[in-house]
Symmetry: C2
């Protein structure tokens, strides 16, 4: 666990999980309404009837608050999925979010992914609190597949599992003018991800 996470967990323990969930929901609403750059701690404080001092004490800053709110919206942890096969694990992972949630999160992630390029502190929080934990969980999914003998330990595609999945998610709207859905992602997993990893899909 990173130092950033430790510090934030210690800070956060002063508020209840319910209050925390309420705060995160308000932050995501604001993010949808005005975007990252125009979102202010003043607006979060007003919307959630908190003091700015509390927000800064609990989260350190806007970047960390926004990224934690995004992470909190993710329904279920990749680490809890263990179906006994890589295909089973990957198909289950894409059903953790229903299509409606996925479409809402997809536009939020797009906005954040864009904003990181002009906000170094957001980039750092995004990588440390969202990208890296997700990469680590995918590595565990992949390691289990290797341990089961499904994927060769020297398979070059294993390094690119997150690029493949995030790439499919990110390009669906742009290329096909359609939201990423569970059905699309399952089809992509069977057509691209598993064959690239040398895993039979039937």
């Amino acid at each position: 666990m990173s130092e950033m996470t430790d510090v934030a967990t210690a800070r956060r323990s002063r508020i209840t999980p319910e209050r925390e969930a309420e705060l995160y929901a308000a932050v995501l609403d604001l993010l949808r309404e005005v975007g990252y750059d125009a979102l202010t701690m003043d607006a979060v404080a007003a919307r959630t009837r908190s003091s700015k001092a509390t927000l800064y004490r609990q989260w350190g800053g806007k970047a960390e608050l926004v990224v934690k709110a995004m992470r909190h919206s993710k329904p279920g942890r990749i680490a809890d999925v263990d179906t006994g096969s890589l295909r089973g694990d990957l198909h289950t992972l894409v059903t953790l979010e229903d299509d409606c949630t996925m479409e809402r999160n997809s536009s939020l992630m797009r906005a954040l992914a864009m904003a990181v390029h002009s906000n170094p502190d957001l980039m750092r929080a995004f990588k440390e609190l969202l990208v890296e934990p997700e990469m680590d969980e995918f590595k565990r999914v992949m390691q289990r597949a290797i341990d089961r003998g499904e994927v060769r330990a020297d398979c070059p595609a294993r390094e690119y599992i997150v690029h493949m999945l995030v790439g499919a998610f990110a390009t669906r709207t742009l290329i096909d003018d359609l939201p990423p859905t569970q059905e699309f992602l399952r089809s992509y997993i069977d057509a691209v991800v598993l064959p690239a990893l040398g895993v039979p899909t039937t």
Copy 2:
């Protein structure tokens, strides 16, 4: 060729290719400086010493002008590449742009890809003038591979060739904090794209 392209070609024929290249370069400079939403036809007119009436007559509007400028910056056409093997074609395609140009274009494409979601006319121009022609050219590359017997006609990954390549390009910075380079894209082609298509990489 689409109707939009026909009309624009007819309009554009009134200016010289040199003047056109100069205009497109100025549009991309402005796009880098202020972003799509803040870019105005007034600013383009001032920067290029043209009249706004000329710009509108030649390009119809901001969306079409910006997308044409992006397309013009692409060095070389996919359709001209025909090496005799799919691996050869794909490796050649990623060397059409040197790493420096690729990094510059990558941040421009990111900005545009973001702006399309709040600008329906930009989305239309982007799809009609950039995405669809590129998809068509990749389809031709893929059809030749099928005709040569390299890829099976019913290979499910053939529908996703552009998602794979654009996805790799788009996720490289976000996931690895590194710009997409020719070396990365060649490695991704060998690790993911060719195996997904059932093509041996050696």
